[in-house]
């Protein structure tokens, strides 16, 4: 059963076996797994339920409905736009559906460097297989590759770099290209479509428009959650209190860490919210004579991994794939204003966009603003700036190799290149100066590592089974638990870790 917080008119008190905060990949999976196991589950979602019939494909309508802070959340100095979901299904409603497992190198690094146990490639394999089957993960067929992705593919082949097709979790995709503002065709096999309905069918109760205010805990034991029922404009009007034997936190690496702080959870080693990674990325634009129409088709179906080595201490930490946006997003990305800007917009059908995303080493933090919202503090360190500069140059080379006549780096000031000669060899430094990597606007959609896991309570917040070191019965099942950046799309790892952690949550509830 679903209750919309905006329609309730009284304070409410509930008892349950488990209360789940968040309904994205981690929370949706936890709701379904635990409800299917027979437990009384109450789910809390800060955002609304947005049906596919409400997905209008209009940016100005959908961004406020689907994203945290209406799509405008920024870090402390406004240099990074930090995107996250705020609706039933969380970020899985507006992500680009890319599916990758956690790389073996990353899992080994967690085991050796972060005291993570029980999460080897072999141990996680059956969980990954189950998730991939349930979410219909498949290779994106070559026939579904749009021209923007063919540009990347041509560039990879011409340069002899590493790259290949990507996997996704879509069924019945109409190739409309509007994935980032929600799919009106229900093609995304995501938490909102696959998991939350299954949880409800198994007896779970979901409260939407319901914002968790604090986790209740006594004597080192989680006892429930106090939440605000929100009206249609996000204002608190009544309170919901859920008493439960276990609390499952899945509000994303930003929301979960902020809630941990607001709840004053014991944190003797000051680890909470302190190791935030974001996978920040920046775009590079190529101008082509031919029509690209990157706004149509599956937005991302090909990758370049030439500059990505997920081994610890690697000096190749850039993942390159395509990026494209609809008119408002494109307008915000392109430089300048007025006539100059409009001239670029008139080339909209002829531009291809690649993005250099960092497998970041930078550690940011999550705090709480005076108005209760999460504060994201994150400033790229020098090593990551170097990586970003390499990534921008690599994107430019790929675009030229893919046939671009001009390349634009939308930094301050913008860098515009008429040919690739200046990029090759020693010229690369002057063609796209490092300062471009210091001034370019970044976007990040993969917050991680704010409540990292590990078996050493001095260096981690939760155990390798997802349970808080200091608060029994409190489990974290989202990207917060990754001890490091993972260097790839996080949805499948989050679904999978949540499913794995649920075996331990069920064990806890039994005991």
């Amino acid at each position: 059963m679903i209750h919309q917080g905006r329609k309730l008119s009284a304070d409410t008190n509930l008892d349950a076996d488990v209360v789940v905060i968040g309904t994205g990949a981690g929370g949706g999976m936890a709701m379904r797994e635990l409800a299917a196991a027979g437990y009384q589950v109450v789910g809390l979602e800060e955002g609304p339920l947005v049906e596919t019939s409400q997905m209008t494909q209009l940016e100005d309508e959908m961004l406020p409905k689907l994203y945290q802070e209406r799509g405008g959340r920024m870090n402390q100095d406004f240099s990074i736009r930090v995107l996250g979901g705020r609706c039933v299904g969380g970020s899985t409603v507006h992500n680009i559906n890319l599916c990758k497992r956690l790389a073996p190198e990353v899992l080994q690094a967690w085991e050796r460097g972060h005291a993570v146990s029980g999460l080897s490639e072999k141990e996680l394999a059956p969980f990954f297989e189950s998730v991939e089957s349930e979410l219909s993960v498949s290779l994106i067929p070559e026939s579904d590759r749009n021209e923007n992705n063919r540009v990347l593919e041509r560039g990879v082949h011409k340069l002899g770099w590493k790259g290949g097709p990507l996997q996704h979790n879509r069924v019945g995709c109409q190739k409309s290209g509007f994935c980032e503002v929600g799919c009106p065709f229900a093609a995304k096999q995501n938490a909102a479509k696959v998991l939350v309905p299954a949880a409800l069918a198994a007896g779970a109760t979901l409260y939407t428009d319901t914002q968790a205010l604090r986790i209740l805990h006594e004597a080192g034991r989680a006892t429930g959650v106090v939440a605000a029922l929100l009206d249609a404009r996000g204002q608190r009007h009544h309170t919901l209190t859920v008493k439960a034997k276990a609390v499952v936190l899945a509000g994303s690496a930003i929301g979960s860490a902020a809630l941990a702080k607001k709840s004053a959870l014991p944190d003797p080693h000051q680890q909470q919210g302190q190791r935030l990674h974001l996978h920040p990325g920046a775009p590079v634009v190529g101008l082509f004579e031919e029509v690209i129409d990157g706004f149509r088709g599956i937005p991302q179906s090909y990758e370049c991994t030439e500059w990505l080595d997920l081994s610890p201490n690697s000096d190749r930490r850039v993942w390159i794939t395509t990026a494209f946006a609809h008119p408002i997003g494109a307008a915000v990305t392109l430089p300048g204003f007025g006539k100059t800007h409009f001239e670029w917009m008139q080339r909209y059908r002829h531009i291809s966009v690649l993005t250099a995303m960092l497998h970041d080493e930078t550690s940011g933090s999550v705090g709480v603003k005076s108005d209760g919202r999460a504060q994201v503090e994150y400033t790229l360190n020098e090593a990551d700036r170097d990586q970003l500069a390499k990534g921008l140059r690599a994107c430019a080379r790929l675009l030229f190799a893919g046939g671009a006549k001009r390349v634009l780096v939308p930094s301050h000031p913008p860098v515009e290149l008429g040919d690739e000669s200046a990029l090759i060899g020693g010229g690369s430094i002057t063609a796209i100066p490092r300062s471009a990597a210091e001034s370019i606007g970044l976007a990040a959609a993969h917050p991680m590592s704010s409540l990292p896991m590990g078996d050493d309570p001095k260096r981690s917040v939760v155990t390798s089974r997802g349970q808080h070191h200091q608060v029994r019965g409190l489990f974290v099942v989202d990207g917060s638990v990754f001890p490091t950046s993972i260097g790839g799309p996080p949805q499948i790892p989050i679904y999978t870790l949540s499913k794995y952690f649920c075996t331990h949550i069920a064990h806890f509830l039994k005991s």
Partner: protein
């Protein structure tokens, strides 16, 4: 209008320092600019807004409405969209502290930026060419926070304009392909 000096401030020692200590000095610089113009902001007179518009404003004051409309006319196609009308609705649901920051930037554009660019009159009283020079100085500012504030204003203007189907033909953008029932 009389122009006092170049619209493009050169890199100063302060600017270099800000780049290395971006956050603290960035906020400080914005505070100084806003503070220096505070008296002028308080003198929010001389802004003509029709009574019907004044009566329906939800979050903008009349002077903010006038300035945002003037800014919007230079950022996107002049006269094709009233950015101030859109902003008045859009800002209503924005977090109060974010809205306050954005409106501080409007004050900077109206009072601080023209002075810094060499003009003695407020932004809304400048010619279109002069307004473009002021906006260019913000767009190319060496102060990251000023640039960020300007980017926020651009985002509002671009959203106001490119949400309109009338703006799409110039781009060759055909628009949504959602089921007909949604369009």
């Amino acid at each position: 209008m009389r122009r006092l000096r170049s619209a493009r401030p050169s890199a100063t020692p302060l600017a270099v320092a800000v780049r290395s200590r971006r956050r603290f000095l960035g906020w400080l610089s914005l505070g100084l600019v806003a503070g220096a113009t505070g008296v002028a902001v308080l003198r929010a007179t001389g802004y003509e807004v029709p009574a019907d518009v004044r009566g329906r404003l939800k979050v903008l004051s009349p002077w903010e409405y006038v300035v945002l409309r003037a800014i919007g006319d230079r950022l996107v196609a002049p006269g094709e969209v009233n950015v101030a009308d859109f902003a008045d609705s859009y800002l209503e649901d924005m977090a109060a502290s974010d809205r306050a920051d954005l409106l501080k930037m409007v004050a900077v554009v109206e009072h601080g930026a023209p002075l810094a660019a060499g003009y003695i009159h407020r932004f809304s009283a400048l010619s279109a060419t002069e307004q473009d020079a002021v906006l260019t100085s913000l767009n190319e500012s060496s102060l990251p926070l000023i640039r960020a504030g300007f980017e926020a204003l651009k985002a509002i203007a671009f959203m106001a304009y490119y949400r309109l189907p009338a703006s799409w033909p110039a781009l060759g953008y055909p628009g949504p392909v959602a089921p007909r029932s949604l369009q």
